[in-house]
Amino acid sequence: MPAGLFHENYHTDERIFQTWFAKVWLIAFLLGGVLFPVFGSKYAISIMIEVGIAIIACHGLNILTGFTGQISLGHAAFMGVGAYACSILIGQAGLPFIVALPMAGAVAALVGMIFGIPSLRLRGLYLAMATIAAQFIIEFTIRRWDSLTGGVEGMLVDPGSIGPFHFDNHYHLYYLTFILAIAATMATKNIVRSRSGRAFVAIRDRYLAAEVIGVNVFRYRLMSFAVSSFFAGIAGALLAQYLQVITHESFTIHQSIDYLAMCIIGGLGHLLGGIYGVGFWFILERILEVVTTTLNSTYPDHMTWFVSIREIVFGFVIVSFLIFEPDGLAARWRTIRAYWKLWPFSY
């Protein structure tokens, strides 16, 4: 029996689940996810729906920013495109949800590609500015295209349904989000280990070298924008189902920045980065909420002292991650795993 994990060919090296141990844990996790609504409260389920939506969105952003190295500050706007596209397709065009959902992704992908065109010339900070423009242009369009989007008053979303499942029911929506989050994770994993995924990474690491060895930089950048926005569109469509009413205020630049922060915390360029980041973010948010509301109701006279705790802690966490853990929680997890692998007989 080999005293460790040894790969003898490329096939085993690229395998997604390398040990039976990983498979067992994954099955346990999936079972937990499936059974969650049985013991979870209504509140817990609505949080888990938000988590699922954020994971899908973060995978999208991770492909673009983490793997391809193109900073995007307009991710929430692309979610908005998906949200409105899906709701309009169901409500006004009368399409069934199962058709409208992928089409919402496709519309968002198209819009993403249009705003991705400047990436041919722009890099880094300049591209970030261009994506901020996308954020504002899309938000402005939503606000002013009254006849289509309902303008500033927002839009009532018709609940989608697939067969016996109606997504104004939070249990049904939970399972839909859960399945799509898993699908998004698998899709991301498979994209990044394919030819396109390697091209993305090559562009991120050194675009000039990538171009020299024959990667069509512009094409792959656009592709990355499209895939990323597709994920955002799907996440947005789910968010619309969750909120039941959408306004431009659900898709502001603050949201875009939050998603970027989640990706940084989780680990840009790691598949699990999106999941860890979202998990960490939501857990921290809940803890802070409990802490501040408890302090608020215990010491109501000093309420104004505690309200900024959240902002301060979030700022502190992001700065700390950038300084101490720039590769995010995913990298930290890898280090911890490596440490325990040889424990207690380390070198």
Binding site: Y43, T252, L295, M303, V307
Partner: protein, 401 residues
Amino acid sequence: MKKWKIGVVVAAVVLAFGLGPAATHAVAADVIKWGVLIDLSGPTSDWGKNQVKGQLDATRWLNEHGGINGKKLKLLVIDDGYKVPRGVAGYNRLVDSENVVGLYIQSTGTTMTLRKKIVSDGVVTIAASFTSKFQNPAKTPFSFFVSPSYATMGRIALRWIKDTWDDSSRNPKICFLYPDNKYGRDILKVCKDYAKKIGVDVGPDQVINWPTKDATVQLMNMKRYNPDWAYITSTAMNGAVILKNARSLGIKTKFISNIRNFEETLITLSGGASEGTYGVHPIAPYGAPVPGMKKVVQSHESWHPGEMGTNVYVEGWVNILCASQALRLADKAGDLTPVGIRKAFEQFKDFKTGGLAPPLTFTSTDHRASMAAKIYTIKDNRMIAVSDWIELPKTMEYFGK
């Protein structure tokens, strides 16, 4: 590095133990939980902090004076930073986890986003967003607010402008100044229609977005039309910039502020530029000579000595006085459920708050609390009423628009 980690663990333990006892004695029997979803850290936090201060003080006063039929009222305050996603999360927590019987929601965006959910959850809400859209119980059966709507107050201002106009050779001219959002655009259709009807000429709109740093361009544009009046829809923090710019440009137009702009902080923030401007407001300014003001001023002076009292603080009191009255009625009827509280609200007939707000009435088909407001002006840094109550008839013409 190790020391640092130990520090974190120690801090976590201390925090956990420190909060443990606080959490356990927080909930007791005979407590009625009421939620407050408000901005304490975002762009409207100056307003939110005064509002929540008023609500907390009113609750404290209420609990010291018998509570709700002997039961204590407990406010659960959640800060949403004026962001919709956080507002929605806070709403879920209050309604699904804390099981509040009703709640107060500040942000228009959050209220609009939640409007379908509020109906399906059946939770009574008091809104800080006075949009007429929440006044038709056929559409929003659980929404209430304690004032005339923004559009009604706009109409009251127009009515007053027309009534005090003495140049018979022409109509008075007005421009609307507002930020490009739901709140800013809320009154436009109704007010422009009403202006046309009563003979007030409306000039080109000036969009002044938040956060307002400079409004010179818009004011110069407005100056070309040279209106007699300009109606500002904004908040004090942003509106103060408009007034300061107008003063330095030497604009002769008279300004009239809506309720969210016209508060005591406007006086301090505008550095004197608000002197002589007007405002339309249904809530009595802090310290006004009305019978209900005595307890408000006493509470504020003993619990917050040295701080400035504002009409936003008074509005906080009005919100709690109304909510507590509805809870009292529902509790007496033995039906302390959202439906019971809604019914209790709908029994309000000329409910008086001692002059803090105009008498309030709700019925099962009409959630327009009142149609009256006063016009104030700022003189020597104080708000002085220049009109008596101006009340518009409760016709169906602009109902829910």
